[in-house]
Each structure stands twice: as C-alpha cells, then as structure tokens.
C-alpha cells in the first residue's frame, strides 16, 4: 500500500496541473499568452506521477511540460510568468511555454524538435555512468517521436552502452493530427524497443500505477541493468496545441477517454480507500485555485526584460555584439 501522503500529493498536483492548464488556455484566448501552447489536460497522471517517482536523476522532456515542471518542483508562478514572457519566468521569457529549463531541479523541460532531445538524454546518461553516479536519466516523449531516426539511434546506443536511461513513451495515440496506427505498423511503440531492452506497459491514466512502474524502472536502471522502456497509454482532451481544434477525432472517442479520467480515478481512491470527505477534496481544489490565481497575478504584474538584455546569454564567456 502506498503512503497516503504521496497519494494526496499526486492528486493535489494533478488538480493543480489541470487548473493551471485551463487558466493558461483562458489567458491564451485573452491574448496574454502567445506562440504555441500545448496543454496536458487528460495526461496529468503520467506527468505528475513520473516526476514524483523519478527522484534520482535528470529529466529530459518535450514541449508539453508545464505540469511536469510544476510537479518537478518549479514554482507555478515562474512557469506562468514564462508563458506570459516575463523576466521572472523560469527562462526569463527567453524560452516560453516550450522551453522551461531548470538544472537546479534536474529538469530539462522543453525541447520542441520532436525526438531531438532523446540523443541529449542518452549523452547525459553517459555522463552519469561515467561519473559512477547513482543518478540516472528519465526521458519522456510522445508516440509521435518514435518514428524518427533520433529515436532508433537512441535505443541502439543506450542499449549498446548499457546506460542508466529510462525511456518513457507517453502514447496519446496522435502525432499532432495523425493517428499513430496510420503511420506506424502498430499502436504499441514499445514493440520497437523490445529487441534492445526490457519494456513495460502501464496505464498512463492511473497515477498510482505510473508511480509504481517508474519506481521499478528507476530501480532497474540504478542497478546497472542498462536502459528500460516504459510505455504509458494516455489521451489528451485538447488539441495538439491551443490552435488545433482536433477535428480528426470523434467526440465518442474523446468521451470514452474522459470516462478514464485520471483525476476522477484518483478522487475515487481517496474517497473510497482513504475516507476523504467532500470538504477534504474541496480544500485541495481551493488550494490549487489559489496557487493558480497567485501565479496569474505574479505573471501579469511581473516586468518584461529590457531590450538592452537582448544579447544576454547568447554566449556565457564572450558576448559579441557585432557591429
């Protein structure tokens, strides 16, 4: 039986994550946030439980990462301020929604080249093995990333060099608007990893199952067995990004997945197994709402970085402003 406190924490983070994403969507519509905004709604169990379970190493992930960043420990207000493009954002407004990096949380959260971060995770895992560290590396990617060359190169190298690397495929079945089975021979992307390494499947909408699976996988890579591949089946309720109306899916399909909603499932666990009352749950909701409201106020009131800093951080050592 998992610790009640962990279960409550996972639930509270999922609730916070969903409210954060709806608030981000609302402020995107209002014009406070621009660019591409990829929402995690529907996939919170996977994002939250993976971040909490993987506590011995670095995380490399993609552009759908606001909830992961928050679950990893980055302040929600620093994430929201980044979405607003403000100087108080986690990347000082230089990165935006898709690029939330924070090495102090071992979080490299947002590569926007599909599959492009996989070789980086492999390299970092090499560094950890080189350093004889107890830390490993977790890399998250979607089913859409599992058809490109970087994916296969990474499976090959991680397995040839027995690197402490956990591949976590968030299979939400759609590569933007293309159903995965239209462009791959099967739905289960772990089949591609089977010749190289041990694979596991987990219900990505079950936070407890994800937590347990990632703990087991983390333990496996820490023991020096080499890489492991976990595939979590899940679903995003929204389009690929806010600008995508998702007309390529049927309303029935979305409804089926909404019946497997990760937050609802966890709420039932809390009520049925741990006797949480309606007011206990409302307290969690209220706290999440307050956190999101604070983040919004912080983001709105924060200044933009001055244009005089445009050239900051192009280089670390030498800054050349060319005439």
């Amino acid at each position: 039986m998992m610790d009640k406190l962990i279960i409550e924490e996972l639930y509270a983070l999922m609730v916070l994550g969903r409210q954060f994403e709806y608030a981000a969507k609302e402020h995107y519509m209002a014009g406070d946030i621009s660019g591409f905004l990829h929402l995690d709604i529907g996939q919170e169990a996977l994002s939250v439980a993976a971040m909490k379970a993987f506590d011995h190493g670095d995380v490399f992930t993609t552009y759908r990462e606001h909830v992961m960043a928050i679950a990893r420990g980055i302040e929600p207000k620093a994430v929201m301020a980044e979405l607003f493009g403000k100087s108080t954002g986690v990347s000082k407004g230089q990165g935006g929604s898709m690029h939330l990096f924070d090495p102090s949380h071992f979080f490299y959260g947002g590569d926007a080249i599909v599959g492009g971060h996989l070789p980086n995770a492999v390299g970092c895992a090499y560094a950890r093995k080189f350093q004889e560290s107890e830390q490993g590396v977790l890399v998250l990617f979607g089913d859409g990333a599992s058809n490109g060359g970087a994916f296969f190169e990474s499976l090959n190298i991680a397995s040839a060099w027995k690197l402490p690397l956990l591949f976590l495929c968030e299979n939400n079945q759609y590569a933007i608007g293309t159903k995965i089975t239209r462009v791959a021979p099967f739905l289960e992307q772990r089949k591609k990893a089977e010749p190289y390494m041990r694979t596991m499947e987990v219900d990505g909408n079950d936070a407890l199952a994800v937590y347990k699976a990632i703990r087991e996988a983390q333990d496996y890579i820490q023991k020096g067995h080499g890489p492991i591949f976990v595939e979590a089946m899940t679903y995003r309720y929204e389009g690929h990004s806010v600008s995508d109306a998702a007309t390529y899916r049927s309303a029935e399909e979305v409804e089926i997945w909404k019946h497997k909603d990760p937050i609802e499932r966890m709420r039932k666990v809390l009520q049925e197994r741990f006797d949480y009352s309606a007011s206990d749950l409302e307290a969690i909701n209220k706290k999440a709402r307050e956190t999101v409201d604070e983040a919004l106020i912080f983001a709105k009131e924060s200044p933009e970085a001055g244009i005089e800093t445009l050239y900051d951080n192009v280089f670390k050592e030498v800054n050349h402003v060319v005439s």
């Binding site: 670095d58 490399f60 990347s91 000082k92 230089q94 990165g95 690029h99 990096f101 924070d102 090495p103 102090s104 490299y108 947002g110 590569d111 080249i113 492009g116 971060h117 996989l118 070789p119 980086n120 995770a121 492999v122 390299g123 970092c124 895992a125 090499y126 560094a127 950890r128 080189f130 350093q131 060359g149 970087a150 190169e153 990474s154 090959n156 190298i157 040839a160 900051d312 951080n313 192009v314 280089f315 670390k316 050592e317 030498v318 050349h320 060319v322 005439s323």
Partner: protein, 325 residues
C-alpha cells in the same frame, strides 16, 4: 609538428588537465581517428574517454550536448562536413540554443570538429564546405584555422571554453608542417595578419590562405604591388577591427574562399565592407569563390570547380587592371 599532431597535442593536454574532457565519434578510439587526430590517446585515457560511436552523426553531436549538460566537456568528431549535415539539427536546434533558451542556466562546454573542403577526387558527397551555414547561427563560435600554431592554441581554447564551438578543419591541412610555440598567448578570436602589404587586402581562411600565399610572390612580381593577407581564423565572431585597419590602409578588398560563390561566407565580408567601409574603398571588392556546382569527381573538373593558386592570381591581376591598380 604537423597540423593533425598539433590538434592531437591540444586534445591530449586538455585531457590531462581536465578529467571531464572526453572525445567521441566514429573511429576516434581504437582506430585513432580517420585523420589520426586522436592517435595514441585511447592508450593514455582509455575507452571511457575516447568513445567509439556508431555511424550516427545526429547522435554523436546530440550525445555530446547531453554529456555537456551532464557535466562533461565533450569533443565530438565528425568524419567530414557532408556527414555533419546529419547532425545539423543538434548543432543548430540544440547546441546553439540551450544556453539562450534557458536564460543561461544551461551551459554547453563542447566542441564539434570536422574537416571539410575539396581534398582529391572524393566527389560531391565528401568535398563540400558548410561554414556559411554555421557562421550564420547565433550561439556557436566558428573557428576555421589554417596555421598550425594557431590551430593548437585555438583548439585548446575551444575545448576549455564554456561556450560551444564548431571547429572546422580542412582535409588537406592535416599534414601541413609548422612550428608550435606551446607558451604563446594567442587569441583565436583575432584575425591573423599573415603578411603585410599596402595596396590590396586579401582576406581568406582555412586552406585558401595557403593557396593565396602560394601564388603571392608571383602576383607581387607581376603587378609590382604589395598585398596584405589576413587569415580570419574565427568566422563568428569576425574580427572586423583588423579588417578595418587593413582596408583603411589599402582601400582594396579581395575575398578568397573555396566554397560555392552563391551565399558563400565571403559574401558576408564583402557585404560588411560595402556597408561599413564604402568610403575607404578605391575599387569594387573582388570575390573569388567556388563554382555553383556539386564538386565533380574528375580531377580536371574538380579543380575547375574551386579556386586554385593560378586562378586566384589571374583573377586578381585582371581585376587590378580593370581598377587601375
């Protein structure tokens, strides 16, 4: 010391002083490197630090980026520039941008090295030059050094610096001989004044500097003029100050590069001169560059596709005559 030995020495010394320096690429370990740049290093530092990779260029650079994030100081070797194209996603989308996108939180102390250019009849997929694309990318330094002594110092600086560097070599420079002054304090960001002169400034880099120097005595004799030769060394950033000083003296600019003329790197230098040095110029600049064709296999056609010492001389003589030199 040979050029490749100077590079080897630079890597060796960096590995000796910094245990986080690693080198990865195809055949860099047991084989000693396709151009013998890493020869002998695996015996000294082991396979953990001289990492033989699969033929997967995207991963060679992509892994190096991850190693740098993870606290190592990697040197990624790509066998030739054309193969580096497979790694351009990593160079341009990852290596050059992580420091900026993360507001300085991620630093990438790493070097990507590869040779480029026309060697001898290696044909279209092993002979090209890509400095023009890479120098156009903010966030990476691009070195292309022709001098053996500077090559040693520039590579050392590149390895030990905390910013990412693309270090471009040329296949025909590896066996070039030169003296290396181990104690010299050389700045690879500065252009090198190869030879002083007062009538024309010839700007070049990498192997073309040697081609310019090869024809220079004949050119000076034939024209009765003296030519100043500048080796850029760093293609991004550019040491415009050195160019400016020279052009203020000579008033005439010749740009020599091996790459295709269309969109070639020299266009940047000529464009700069037109914008910033217009009133110091006494003649329209001359650009000598390669033809806009894939590099052919046949030796005569291959040589017809790039500048050679004879062609460089003839073009400058004709241009000088047209411009009252």
């Amino acid at each position: 010391m040979l050029y490749r030995e100077a590079l080897n020495r630079a890597i060796d010394e960096c590995m000796a002083v910094d245990p986080t320096v690693v080198m990865l690429g195809e055949d860099v370990g047991l084989y000693g490197g396709s151009y013998r740049v890493s020869e002998g290093l695996v015996a000294k530092y082991g396979e953990k630090r001289l990492i033989d990779t699969p033929i997967a260029e995207l991963s060679i650079v992509g892994n190096a980026v991850g190693m740098a994030i993870g606290g190592l100081r990697p040197i990624a070797e790509i066998m030739t520039a054309n193969f580096a194209l497979l790694a351009f996603d990593q160079i341009i989308n990852h290596m050059s941008k992580y420091h900026y996108m993360s507001a300085g939180k991620i630093t990438l102390p790493m070097v990507v090295r590869f040779p480029q250019g026309v060697s001898k009849q290696l044909a279209a997929q092993h002979s090209e030059s890509y400095e023009q694309m890479l120098a156009a990318v903010p966030g990476i330094h691009v070195f292309a050094v022709s001098d053996v002594n500077y090559a040693y110092h520039a590579l050392k600086k590149a390895i030990l610096m905390d910013d990412p560097v693309v270090f471009i070599e040329h296949e025909l420079l590896y066996n070039k001989k030169g003296e290396v002054d181990l104690n010299a304090d050389l700045d690879p960001f500065k252009a090198r004044l190869v030879k002083e002169g007062k009538d024309v400034t010839i700007v070049s880099y990498l192997k073309m500097v040697d081609d310019v120097m090869a024809m220079l005595p004949a050119l000076e004799e034939e024209t009765g003029r003296t030519y100043e030769v500048i080796d850029l060394q760093s293609l991004n950033p550019v040491d415009y100050d050195t160019l400016k000083t020279s052009l203020e003296k000579t008033g005439r600019l010749v740009m020599v590069e091996e790459d295709h003329a269309m969109g070639g790197y020299g266009a940047q230098i000529v464009s700069w001169a037109a914008e910033k040095m217009f009133y110091a110029l006494d003649a329209a600049p001359l650009r000598i560059a390669g033809e806009n064709v894939p590099i052919p296999y046949n030796r005569k056609r291959e040589l017809a596709s790039i500048p050679t010492p004879e062609k460089i001389k003839d073009r400058i003589v004709a241009w000088g005559a047209e411009n009252g030199l």
